[in-house]
């Protein structure tokens, strides 16, 4: 009995050690970035006293970032591109996903399979032709061009994920509403849509994260500093001959902050959406 209890205690200790280890591995790099962004330059480059903690806190790097670089322009561009991609993807994918689960029409199943295929298309296969198409349309080096490019994979993903959610809503719900005199459209908005809020949240989060992250298309499709997005802008910071690490760390913190906040708010929805996607 005693050995059993001791074995249990050992297992428990091991489990805690494992959890603590992986939590530290996951967050330490970001914590280090935050701490570095607050350190005075002298401490950043000679860590004689403390390796990790700042000896004094300074906002110097943030002032430098906001005043001396185009960081706010990058921020603005990323926000605009994210917003309009969302505005395009959510309604179109919701209507299409609804149609795919409720109506019978020729080619439906083929189309459903093609959507998954489209989502899986590697960006490395599309960056060149997208550049060609957008050059012809005169949309290279514009935010509209980026929205166009991001829709190419956000839309299939949205349709695919939302379909899994619409399948889970019983048809009898809307039929009951329509018997009571509601039109198909009002049944859709009042009865069905509220049932798939988790799915819409999951797709929105996906679109936000992807637009905030995307590098290859933004690299290829923007050329002037006025049109660059955060990932491309930040990449120019580390391509310089001498890298201002304090300022770069400040940019890292401000770029990650909205995603971290968003993630904390929607964590529960997101995991549900994730589980739905894995099952579907």
């Amino acid at each position: 009995m005693r050995s059993y209890r001791r074995r249990k205690a050992v297992r428990k200790t091991l489990m805690w050690a494992g959890v603590v280890f992986f939590v530290i591995v996951s967050i330490f790099p970001l914590v280090e970035a935050l701490l570095s962004s607050l350190k005075p330059p002298s401490q950043l480059f000679s860590r004689s006293s403390s390796i990790f903690l700042p000896s004094s806190v300074t906002l110097l790097h943030y002032r430098e970032l906001l005043g001396g670089t185009r960081f706010l322009t990058y921020y603005f561009n990323t926000t605009v591109v994210t917003f309009f991609t969302l505005a395009l993807v959510i309604p179109i994918s919701a209507l299409a996903a609804y149609s795919l689960t409720r109506f019978e029409f020729p080619g439906r199943d083929l189309y459903r399979r093609l959507i998954l295929f489209t989502y899986m298309l590697p960006p490395i296969l599309l960056f060149l032709p997208l550049h060609a198409v957008l050059t012809r349309l005169g949309l290279v080096n514009s935010r509209a061009g980026l929205i166009f490019a991001y829709t190419s994979f956000c839309l299939p993903f949205g349709m695919w994920l939302l379909r899994a959610f619409f399948v889970g809503v019983p048809v009898s719900l809307e039929e009951a509403a329509m018997v009571d005199g509601a039109t198909r459209l009002s049944a859709f908005f009042r009865i069905v849509l509220p049932q798939v809020v988790s799915g819409v949240v999951a797709v929105s989060v996906f679109v936000c994260v992807v637009c905030w992250n995307e590098y290859l298309y933004a690299l290829v499709l923007t050329s002037s500093a006025e049109m660059k997005t955060l990932p491309v802008g930040l990449a120019t910071f580390i391509r310089m001959y001498t890298i201002d690490w304090g300022m770069v760390m400040a940019s890292v913190v401000l770029t990650s902050a909205p995603l971290v906040v968003l993630y904390m708010f929607v964590q529960r929805h997101l995991l549900k959406g994730f589980a739905g996607a894995v099952k579907g």
């Binding site: 489990m15 390796i51 209507l95 032709p129 997208l130 060609a132 994979f153 905030w212």
Partner: protein, 300 residues
């Protein structure tokens, strides 16, 4: 009369269905299907400089690319990168999922924190790791020197034999949480009764894991390997931003080569051919994998 009415109602349903799907068809056609067709056709043309025009050359781009020694090396690096990061992600993802599947205080906080690497942008991961592994000022070198007594700084990204390993480590760090979530979602649906029987039999933790937990994870394992394998194989941003393919060509991958051909060497037909080779090999491996898995299912 009644028949006519139901018929027209059915037709109306078809029409309604198509109408709702139509916007998505138009948008996907313009943003994905047409560019895809264009991209494939580019690979058969010799495109001059900055333009997208030039003569048809058949498979010349392909034969030139495949005979190129840089292509062969990139292909090998691509496989090392994809398999290395995939294996690491699966391993770390499995361990973390098993840990998070136990009940303890603060479990949801730990789960939230472990997912952090996945939600931050790739460029952020790259910058942060370049800072951590910086040869002069990086914390990791400092700690190794101060606490372990290392004499010389390790040049993580500048040593040809180390660069790929460093790259893979960052790749694992960035992407393992996706695997954690997939495994965890599945683990939480395993019926607890399965374990009760094992407890009665006095099975060891290892036996429990091997005979109960692992078989339950098989399907999700199949999907995760496929999805993550594809994703890592085509990854551009992390290798490009972290090492740029260097030092020398020790971390040069096919996506990097395709990009450099198109926008630095100005050989866009060749770039398209590399992308197509990448895609064809990807689909080929995915198909083989799919068939092998299905056959095993039938045998058992």
């Amino acid at each position: 009369m009644a028949v006519e009415k139901t018929l027209s109602r059915k037709q109306k349903e078809v029409l309604y269905g198509i109408l709702l799907v139509l916007p998505s068809v138009v948008v996907i056609g313009a943003t994905a299907a047409y560019p895809l067709a264009k991209g494939i056709s580019f690979s058969f043309y010799k495109l001059a400089g900055f333009t997208y025009e030039g003569p048809f050359v058949g498979f010349a781009n392909y034969t030139r690319v495949i005979g190129n020694s840089l292509f062969v090396e990139s292909f090998r690096n691509n496989l090392v990168w994809a398999f290395g990061t995939l294996a690491g992600q699966i391993l770390v993802g499995l361990v973390t999922a098993l840990l998070l599947n136990r009940s303890f205080r603060g479990r949801s906080v730990a789960q939230g924190l472990i997912l952090f690497p996945y939600i931050i942008p790739g460029i952020v991961a790259v910058i942060v790791w370049r800072w951590l592994l910086h040869d002069q000022y990086g914390v990791i070198n400092l700690v190794l020197k101060r606490w372990i007594g290392l004499e010389e700084s390790i040049h993580w990204f500048a040593t040809p034999s180390l660069a790929m390993a460093s790259l893979i480590l960052v790749g694992i760090w960035k992407f393992f949480p996706f695997v954690t979530i997939c495994f965890l979602a599945r683990l939480q649906t395993v019926p607890p009764q399965l374990y009760d029987a094992a407890k009665v039999d006095g099975a060891s933790a290892w036996k429990e894991f091997w005979h109960i937990t692992l078989p339950q994870l098989r399907e999700v394992f199949f999907v995760v390997v496929l999805l993550r394998g594809i994703f890592m194989y085509i990854k551009f941003d992390i290798p490009w931003l972290l090492t740029g393919g260097g030092p020398g060509t020790s971390t040069y991958t096919l996506p990097i080569m395709s990009y450099v051909e198109a926008f630095q060497q100005m050989r866009r037909g060749t770039s398209a051919a590399i992308a197509c080779v990448l895609f064809v090999t990807l689909v080929g491996v995915a198909l083989v994998y799919f068939l092998a898995f299905e056959r095993r299912e039938v045998v058992e």
